[in-house]
């Protein structure tokens, strides 16, 4: 029964799907890009960020990646644009824009 679920796609015949659509791997949500559901998009203003990290634990989608003790730019493949990080940032280092477009890299390098 155990199969490589990455070989299953939208062309796979029903006989070759796993029983009950069971997934035989961990962490597969990463493969499922849901960022396109976004109707608002947060923008990370690195020059204003003090790395207080209040934004990271409140993100419901784990879409603020970390490198050591520093937060990085948003994971736009999974961010839904809920704006909770924006509301929690005490330094105005996150701003919200309409639409789901991923912001250009300007303003990232201070």
């Amino acid at each position: 029964m155990r199969t490589d679920v990455k070989k299953i796609n939208e062309q796979t015949p029903y006989e070759d799907l796993t029983e009950g659509l069971m997934m035989f791997a961990g962490g597969t949500a990463k493969e499922f890009k849901t960022g396109e559901w976004r109707t608002n998009t947060p923008v990370f203003l690195q020059e204003k960020c003090r790395q207080c990290l209040l934004c990271v634990p409140v993100c419901p989608d784990g879409s603020i990646p970390m490198d050591g003790e520093k937060r990085l730019d948003f994971d736009y493949d999974h961010c839904k644009g809920c704006g909770i990080c924006y509301k929690n940032c005490p330094f105005g280092a996150i701003e919200m824009r309409e639409g789901c477009e991923v912001p250009a890299k300007e303003g990232k390098e201070a």
Partner: protein
């Protein structure tokens, strides 16, 4: 090889509880409801007395009972629960998930009506309501059958060709509470028959992670449903294989249905559950008078054995299809709908008359059975029409 039977007398609820003790399932989440309350109560006393090591989970509702059953079966534990009527209705959402996640949970259902009007007595509206949830459904005439069906449920559900949940049904009060003679099997043969539960994939399996019941977009859901429907089709052969193995152990024979005095029958009553006993008694009396009548007692409602029913009825002149449940569709009950559809599809053309009987515990007697057979005979021999979907024993001004 047949085992020496243990002669006992017990109610249907006691018979199921005894089977549960012998199977010794790993987990039982349950919530009390009349008339099935005795089953979890008896299992609890087995646990307290150290007779089984089942983990009993007292839950706050049947919705939670089935949710817990899904969790525990996914985790890799052999899981069962018991309920009835509104309790089954409250499980609805979870019933479908248990089936679509392909979990071999066993549910023992004590059939009683769904209110309203508010009533607690026997009919099949609970089980029939759940007929399209993807569960295998096996109905019993008496305590012996529900005991035997329960033991067969696990090997059916857990077969790799099936992996579907099974509902073992008995009639509320009539079977669940009435004490009758029964032949029990010794513990060890039952344990050997059911075997140790060894799921291939389960959640608590270190180093082999799985995710159960993931979100499925439209590109996958329809394919998953087709695969599930195929598992239900596969269940038919597995049910017969398990029945054969059970017969070797017990000497008692089971199939999709029981054909009672059907060899040369012109008129047949197709019926399910405890009322089949009443029908058989009437048939015996009518056979004494030389009437060619018989009973087809349906045991397996899901998967629905339409081909086999059509084959069994093809030489009859007329059949009365008896529903202990109202579908409110202006036509007939679920048994009537499915049997007539099956007859049509298999090109078996006989007079098929649908009746509704025994709703909310209304008595159904041998006199009723004889009247129905009489009406079938008048229909065939004199062309005397029978009103469609008559209620048996209804008070009316007409």
């Amino acid at each position: 090889m047949s085992q020496e039977p243990i002669r006992e007398r017990m109610s249907g609820n006691e018979a199921v509880a005894e089977a549960i003790r012998q199977v010794n399932p790993d987990v039982m989440p349950a919530f009390p409801i009349t008339p099935s309350t005795e089953i979890p109560q008896m299992v609890s006393s087995f646990i307290a007395g150290g007779k089984v090591d089942t983990e009993f989970i007292p839950v706050e509702s049947e919705h939670s009972a089935m949710s817990a059953a899904i969790g525990s079966e996914s985790a890799g534990a052999r899981t069962m629960t018991a309920t009835s009527s509104a309790g089954l209705a409250l499980m609805w959402e979870e019933l479908l998930l248990a089936a679509s996640n392909r979990l071999p949970i066993v549910l023992t259902l004590v059939n009683r009506t769904l209110s309203g009007p508010i009533n607690i007595n026997c009919d099949h509206s609970d089980g029939m309501g759940a007929r399209d949830t993807g569960w295998i459904q096996i109905y019993a005439e008496n305590n012996q059958e529900v005991y035997d069906n329960y033991i067969q449920a696990f090997p059916i559900a857990e077969d790799a060709r099936v992996h579907l949940p099974v509902m073992i049904c008995q009639d509320g009060f009539i079977t669940s509470h009435a004490v009758e003679n029964i032949n029990l099997l010794p513990d060890q043969p039952v344990k050997d028959f059911v075997g140790t539960y060894e799921p291939e994939e389960f959640l608590l399996n270190p180093g082999k992670p799985i995710a159960v019941g993931p979100y499925s977009i439209s590109a996958y859901a329809m394919e998953a449903k087709r695969a599930q429907a195929e598992a239900m089709e596969n269940a038919a052969e597995v049910i017969l294989e398990v029945a054969k193995r059970f017969e070797e152990m017990s000497g008692r024979s089971y199939g999709f249905f029981e054909s009672y005095r059907m060899e040369d029958a012109d008129y047949c009553m197709l019926i399910m559950g405890s009322a089949a006993g009443t029908a058989k008694q009437a048939v015996d009396e009518m056979r004494e008078e030389g009437k060619k009548v018989g009973v087809l007692k349906l045991r397996v409602f899901r998967p629905f054995p339409e081909k086999q029913i059509a084959e069994a009825l093809k030489n009859c002149k007329a059949v009365a299809i008896m529903d202990r449940c109202e579908s409110y569709n202006g036509n007939c009950g679920p048994l009537g709908s499915e049997v007539t559809a099956g007859l049509y599809r298999n090109k078996v053309n006989l007079e098929a008359v649908c009746y509704t009987y025994g709703l909310a515990g209304r008595d159904f007697t041998t006199t009723h059975v004889k009247e129905i057979f009489g009406a079938l005979q008048s229909l065939v021999e004199e062309g005397k029409k029978i009103p469609h979907n008559q209620y048996i024993g209804l008070r009316t001004k007409k």
